[in-house]
């Protein structure tokens, strides 16, 4: 959206533009791609949307590992549709980032080079088929808690992408929970698998909400811009309050001895989160980090000749890209 030099706003204009932007945010209206926006707003959004897109694409892998071995044809179809959805979600999000001047191939390069990150949750391996169910129930459940408020993001393309994604995530969470319910009605080994998976994924899913509020320096600005709607701790509490009764219906134990209902506040209290582990995993030391990135790199590099071939064909046949 760069304007020719002659049209570049003067200082006075810039103040007027800033005022218009502020008024749009204050009225809870959406900012659209061609609107003027502060550079910090744009950059923060690109970072946020890009890491979200990367998370969707990398998030295909932990469950994708079970696609070939899914234990029934129905489960295979469900899982394939889900993993395909995640590719679609990544694409919606890259599109939203591109409305801000980013470029998908470039964002992918930054992911592969480790300069942009994805959610640490996907650095944990999926050890049994119960993990597929638990990812749907807990990980997608946490994602929904994070994402639903983003349907009201002040940035229009992001908000619209999130609306569609949230609708589809609802299918993801339900298929996960239904798989777990079925497994809990199955053999003793199946029930043990479910409990084991819950034990491994519960704490990482709590970490998905990010560090405690007093340790999140940029949150205030993001709140003011309307691109963050609730604090990390608020969303985490909401998630725990939703998940505990669901665990009871399922018949599994959440691995937290400190978990208890506080009748006074109407919320569940929970134990302390191990933020050291979080930092380790987020800085690339998660069990599966190298493998996840290597597969993305291979998909890009091994197939580069395909992308080039289609471009060459388009050029030859006069359907070339601008």
């Amino acid at each position: 959206m760069s304007a020719p030099p002659l049209d570049r706003p003067t200082v006075a204009d810039e103040q007027a533009l800033q005022d218009l932007f502020d008024a749009t945010i204050a009225a809870d209206h959406r900012i659209e791609p061609r609107d003027w926006m502060p550079e910090g707003y744009r950059k923060t959004l690109v970072r946020q949307i890009a890491q979200h897109a990367h998370s969707e694409i990398i998030g295909m892998q932990p469950e994708g590992d079970w696609l070939l071995a899914a234990p029934s044809l129905r489960r295979k179809a469900i899982l394939l549709a889900k993993v395909q959805d995640e590719a679609g979600h990544g694409m919606y999000l890259y599109s939203a980032a591109e409305t801000l001047g980013a470029d998908r191939a470039d964002l992918t390069d930054k992911l592969i080079e480790g300069r942009q990150k994805y959610s640490s949750i996907f650095n944990y391996p999926t050890l049994t088929y119960a993990d597929v169910g638990v990812i749907g129930w807990l990980v997608d459940g946490a994602a929904i808690c994070n994402q639903v408020p983003l349907c009201r993001s002040s940035y229009g393309p992001y908000a619209r992408a999130m609306i569609r994604i949230c609708k589809e995530e609802s299918f993801h969470q339900r298929q996960g929970y239904e798989l777990l319910l079925t497994m809990m009605r199955g053999t003793p080994e199946q029930r043990a698998m479910v409990q084991d998976a819950v034990d491994r994924w519960w704490w990482p899913s709590l970490m998905m909400f990010g560090p405690p509020d007093d340790d999140s320096p940029n949150s205030a600005q993001s709140m003011a811009w309307g691109i963050k709607r609730h604090s990390n701790d608020e969303l985490r509490q909401r998630y725990v309050d939703m998940s505990v009764p669901q665990a009871e219906v399922l018949g599994v134990t959440l691995p937290d001895p400190d978990l208890s209902y506080d009748a006074e506040t109407g919320h569940y209290r929970f134990g302390a989160i191990d933020w050291d582990e979080f930092k380790r995993v987020i800085s690339g030391n998660g069990p599966a980090n190298a493998e996840r990135i290597a597969r993305r790199r291979a998909a890009r590099d091994d197939n580069a000749w395909v992308t080039e071939a289609a471009t060459a064909y388009a050029t030859k046949h006069g359907r070339a890209a601008a």
Binding site: L73, G88, M91, R185, D302, A312
Partner: protein, 303 residues
């Protein structure tokens, strides 16, 4: 939390109050209302065997295509391949369920407990020698060019059969075919579009596409020779004689390859059916090992 009672309500707000969480469930069961009795004069064992041939081809090819997920060129192609695999998986489920419904379960029921539906007993608890798929679908993917050539050939062959099968005296097969024709047309066209671009793209893509065609063409040898089961069912007006589809298939493939500036490999000499009779190379056993491993570890489980 302010004005939002639950996180989901925010979605309703965001969607202008329409907030349809749940999409309509207006999913048409393609077999709903279809008469499932075996037509007069047809041996149910033959019918079931034929359903396995068509169902196994779809299942094995779906599994091969699924190997591309998280490894495909560009996200757009990832989504497209998943769509094709999902269609084929859907066809496999209907056909295996039909085989089971007429009592053709092979030795699968010796291993699968009662709680496992027929389609899964057949998919997960038959050994390779009981599979009726052809070598064409079992072959490893190779690179993207070879994958595309195989998809082009497999969907062209299957489309020719399904188009005729819509007239089958078995109403179930006719219904499955009617649904499948649209899907297979899309698969064939997707593969053809890609092959044009690979064949007439860069030097490298042309070379790879040609190598893919040369490798896949060899697998055409036993696709058009009917088994005894297919012969009997064709006479009964239930099945399609693959020999009758050969010229059409050949003409489609030659057209696509020529437009893709590829050399059409020599048509291989016809050989008697192998895969259709349960004779397979090691690649099918390997594929089934992955597909069936988990289900077989838990034969009493429900998923």
């Amino acid at each position: 939390m302010g004005h939002e009672e639950t996180v989901y309500e925010a979605l309703d707000h965001a969607h202008g109050g329409e907030g349809h969480w749940a999409f309509g469930t207006g999913f048409d069961d393609p077999l709903a209302g279809v008469d499932t009795t075996v037509p007069d004069g047809v041996d149910p064992a033959d019918l079931g065997e034929y359903c396995l041939m068509l169902g196994d081809d779809a299942l094995v090819l779906a599994q091969r295509l699924t190997q591309w997920i998280t490894a495909a060129p560009e996200l757009e192609e990832e989504v497209a391949i998943a769509n094709v695999a999902l269609d084929l998986l859907g066809q496999a489920r209907l056909l295996l369920a039909r085989a089971g419904s007429v009592g053709v379960l092979g030795r699968s029921r010796e291993k699968a407990t009662e709680s496992i539906p027929d389609e899964d007993a057949l998919a997960y608890f038959r050994d390779a020698d009981e599979f009726r798929s052809t070598a064409l679908v079992a072959a490893p993917n190779g690179d993207f060019a070879q994958t595309i050539v195989r998809l082009l050939v497999a969907s062209t062959v299957r489309l020719a059969v399904f188009a005729r099968l819509r007239e089958s005296r078995d109403p179930v097969l006719a219904a499955i075919a009617a649904k499948g024709v649209n899907e297979l047309t899309y698969h064939r066209d997707h593969a053809a579009r890609w092959l044009l671009r690979l064949g007439d793209g860069t030097d490298e893509s042309h070379r790879r596409a040609q190598a893919g065609a040369d490798a896949i063409w060899r697998l055409l040898d036993d696709l058009f020779v009917p088994t005894d089961v297919e012969r009997r069912l064709t006479e009964a007006g239930v099945a399609v004689d693959p020999a009758g589809t050969r010229d059409e298939v050949r003409s489609v493939l030659v057209q696509v390859l020529e437009r893709a500036t590829l050399r059409v490999p020599g048509w291989p000499a016809e050989a008697p059916p192998r895969g259709r009779l349960g004779q397979h190379g090691p690649e099918l056993a390997e594929l089934l090992g992955v597909l069936q491993g988990l289900a077989r570890q838990h034969p009493a489980a429900t998923w």
